[in-house]
Amino acid sequence: MVYLRDFLSFLGKRALGALAIMFGVVVIVFLISHLLNPDPAALWAGEKARVTTVAAIKAEYHLNQPLDLQLYYFIVNTFTGNFGTDPVTGQNIAQELFFHGFNTIELVVASLIITVIMGIALGYIAGMRYSTKIDALIRTVYLATWATPYYLGAIGVILIFSVALPVLPSGAMYAPGLAPPHPITGIGLIDSLLELNFRDFLSGLQHLILPAAVLAVLDFGIVTRVTRSSVLDVRWSTQVKFALARGVPDPKANRRHILRNALIDATTVSAVMFGWMLSGTIIVEEIFAWPGIGDFAYNAIVQSDYPALIPVVIFFTFGVVIANFLADVTYSLLDPRISLGTARTQG
């Protein structure tokens, strides 16, 4: 039984911790960006900017202030989403992040769903079929895919599914000529369903399969491995033995005890996977022409667009922090011992 007070206390501590980490990240990013370029205003203004333009940017973003005040305004601007104007595209960086960010969330969430289902299912099977050929096969597959770099995997699936067997599109978010759905939530698949635009939905789904599959297949290995280990640990744990001794039928013991306990570790690593996948989007989105944050970051790197890169770094980092926070919350719900802060008594 989960006690509400303890749970809220746990939640509060974790939230404060996450905020502290985010704060620390912002400070580190600020320091690094200033180390890389002592005159960020010149970067913001662009290559052929006038002195007066640079001065105006310094005044607007307080870059002519002492470093501690600059840091203060940097933190305020970060948490209020004021990242200024992109000197390369001329667009508001926050709006660019917003547009690209939701496209990436769509991709990463889809990948994560596939990863979690595949990883847990295969990890469970491998754990229950420990030391059999099935176990060996699963371990071989996940080690091989895990070791495969994103660019190789992406190009490989294009060659297979778009060239050799042209059954899936090689890139973009929708078929040529299809207008994307109106942005309601920002997530294309959801927006198309909300609009009852099934053509967009099906096209979006079709275009999502390959990039999501690449991320999922190349990353499911760690989830599988962790789940397998958890299953093995729990399988021979006192709890399960006790359940069997009490006469709980074996399959029922599996479902209720083994899987639930294995899910705890799998949930944790899945949250880590979210951050991992975010970094993988830089390559995958570029290869699949998926207009997400990864593609945005790639273009910013190629164009030396540092003012756009800084918020991308913050976005990625915040994404990892938030994902870990959610993992902690889920973890606590799955295992009441966490929120209680005490070990469950045996017996």
Binding site: T85, G90, H100, I125, S162, V163, P251, I287, P291
Partner: protein, 622 residues
């Protein structure tokens, strides 16, 4: 007792495997269309009304006063229009927004009569006032392509006062005071009347001289007409700054529209046929290829890597793709295997436009390169045809610069001249004559008591495939005669900055005077290359002889073709005889499209985006 769930899981997995295998067998064994259709007709006989083009790089901007890449040119050239366009036969120009033009005898004053009845896609009128605004706007904003106009016209860069004037004038019905400003004499762009504008040279950094490539500069997007009312409604002109709305929106007089949201950054640009195009009702006798209305309703340009482009061409998703580099031999082989696809080697002008490669030997940085014998030895040490064969499988050619192959006057300029040839023995002998140890092909050392040639840093960019592949070959060939080089990679941005910075040094380096350089045009004109190599004194294009810049200037101000040719010839011979540069190779450029596409005219080789043309209005299905 066996684990029931485990048995069930195995059964489920097996069923899934059988289904996947069945689907795979079905697809592998069922005959299906391979590659794009050979005919454009569907079962109903109707032809498709849209085109999908796939390329590698997206535009940098949709603002013609800002964009400076060929993908950007591709979009702006279909949405906006300028005074003139290149003629179809490659020599000369035709009127786009100008119906005719005259030039003074000293070539300093160009008078353009403008077409009447031209409107922007929103109905706003185009006239001489708008053209006056558009040209000054480019200069005042002072972004990357502004220099194209600033060569010959007033330098009002970063001028707040002029920006304020531009924002204050009514271009539809200008007041008397507005007209006084636009019609006053003694300025670069002078309105004569509502449909007549005069361009007066001599106010730019070329000084008080004519410019033989002026019309070429006017074909660049920096000279396209933009709508003052629209810009005024979205921030106006700000000196020295981009306009954020114009970065991602485009509204011009052209045959295609780029509707709001047309550019999905990182994915695609969609062009839609302009239903209000001003030339829709003109008779065929009044039209030329540059102004005729579009045929296809929609052009969608996707930006994808090479593998995806090839996949989409094969599946029929794309009808035209940006070809891989000539050095990407495996990709070209994959393309050749696709049925119903045309792969055409384009005239070499396209390769020149994309990039012409050479070795630079800057004696102001590496003093040992000040010896003509040394430079000559280096030119003989390199196997040009071997490089072309091994890297490009023959899809490249040697050249004699600075006018690049296929460009106007190239053949006349190099008539009777021979490109540098490979002769290892002669290279070694020349190096020995220069006072250094040298090695003959048979291993003999010439001048054994002389000093070894100092090790040179050899600059190149690993981001350029051909340079990455050519570097080890050249390194080995130089080592064979006794010149040791130290391969020095530079990231692309640093590399291009280094190449095109005035001598003697850039980026704090004082030792990188030797390497592979390349040049690609800013606009389609031989003069662009001649000036770059002969007059600008770049790090990778040092002015070794003072008369190089004189010849370049003579060419720039030439008022007739014979003077122009003489200047080009003098420049070419001087550089060739003095071994100022080691002209390496110009890769071929390929056009790739399905068989059923036609109308891709190639008047302007500044087409390294889809590959080979700029205007989609004439493209259609056969």
């Amino acid at each position: 007792m066996r684990d029931g769930i485990g048995r069930l899981s195995i059964v489920v997995v097996l069923i899934i495997i059988i289904v996947i295998a069945g689907v795979a067998v079905y697809y592998l064994t069922t005959p299906k269309k391979s590659g794009p259709p050979s005919s454009s007709s569907s079962t109903t006989g109707a032809k498709p009304n849209s085109l999908v083009v796939e390329e590698g790089t997206q535009p940098d901007s949709l603002d013609p006063a800002v964009e400076f890449t060929t993908p950007g040119n591709e979009i702006t050239s279909n949405v906006y229009q300028g005074l003139v366009a290149p003629a179809l036969n490659g020599s000369g120009y035709i009127g786009e927004l100008a119906s005719s033009w005259t030039v003074s005898s000293d070539q300093m004053h160009w008078n353009f009569s403008l077409r009447k009845g031209v409107t922007f896609s929103n109905g706003d009128p185009f006239n001489a006032y708008v053209m006056w605004y558009s040209l000054y706007r480019t200069i005042v904003m002072n972004q990357a392509p502004a220099f194209i106009l600033e060569q010959n016209f007033a330098n009002f860069t970063n001028d707040d006062k002029l920006a304020s004037i531009l924002n204050s004038i009514n271009y539809t019905s200008p007041s008397t005071s507005n007209l006084t400003v636009m019609e006053s004499s003694g300025q670069s762009f002078q309105v004569i009347n509502q449909y007549e504008i005069e361009l007066n040279l001599g106010y730019g950094y070329n000084g008080n001289s004519s410019y033989s490539a002026l019309l070429a500069t006017l074909t660049a997007p920096s000279s396209f007409a933009v709508d003052p009312k629209v810009i005024d409604a979205h921030g106006g002109v700000v000196a020295g700054q981009k306009n954020s709305w114009m970065q991602t929106n485009a509204l011009g007089t052209g045959f295609y529209l780029c509707n709001p949201g047309c550019w999905v950054n990182g994915q695609s640009v969609t062009l839609t046929k302009n239903p209000n195009y001003w030339a829709n009702n003109l008779s065929s006798s009044q039209l030329n290829y540059a102004i005729q209305p579009a045929i296809l309703q929609t052009i969608i340009i996707y930006y994808k890597p090479t593998t995806s482009r090839i996949a989409d061409l094969k599946s029929g998703t794309a009808q035209i793709i940006g070809a891989p580099d000539a050095s990407e031999v495996s990709s070209i082989s994959a393309l050749k295997a696709i049925p119903n696809v045309n792969i055409t080697v384009l005239p070499i002008a396209f390769g020149s436009s994309n990039a012409a490669y050479y070795i630079f030997m800057n004696p102001f940085i590496n003093s040992e390169l000040n010896n003509t014998l040394v430079r000559e030895a280096i030119t003989y040490a390199i196997n040009y045809n071997g490089i072309i064969s091994s890297i490009f499988s023959g899809l490249a050619q040697t050249w004699i610069g600075p006018v690049p192959p296929g460009f106007p006057n190239y053949n006349q300029t190099i008539q009777g001249l021979t490109p540098y040839t490979y002769n290892e023995t002669k290279a070694a002998e020349l190096l020995a004559q220069a006072g250094y140890q040298a090695k003959l092909p048979n291993g003999t050392t010439l001048n054994p008591s002389a000093p070894r040639f100092p090790t040179l840093n050899f600059v190149y960019s690993p981001d350029l495939v051909s340079e990455q592949e050519a570097e080890p070959i050249i390194t080995q060939e130089l080592a064979a005669i006794g010149i040791t080089v130290n391969p020095t990679q530079m990231p692309f941005d640093d590399y291009t900055t280094y190449l095109f910075t005035p001598t003697p040094t850039a980026l704090g380096s004082t030792s990188n005077g030797f390497g592979i350089g390349y040049y690609s045009e800013d606009y389609f004109a031989s003069q662009d290359y001649v000036t770059a190599f002969g007059a600008n004194n770049y790090t990778a294009a040092p002015d070794i002889f003072s008369n190089e810049s004189t010849f370049a200037a003579n060419a720039a101000s030439a008022t007739n073709n014979s003077v122009l040719l003489e200047a080009y010839r003098n420049e070419t011979v001087t550089m060739l005889d003095s071994y100022s540069f080691d002209w390496l190779y110009v890769p071929d450029f390929l056009a790739v499209s399905i068989n059923s596409i036609a109308g891709m005219y190639a008047p302007n080789p500044t087409g390294s985006c889809a590959g080979y043309f700029m205007y989609y209005n004439t493209v259609h299905y056969k």
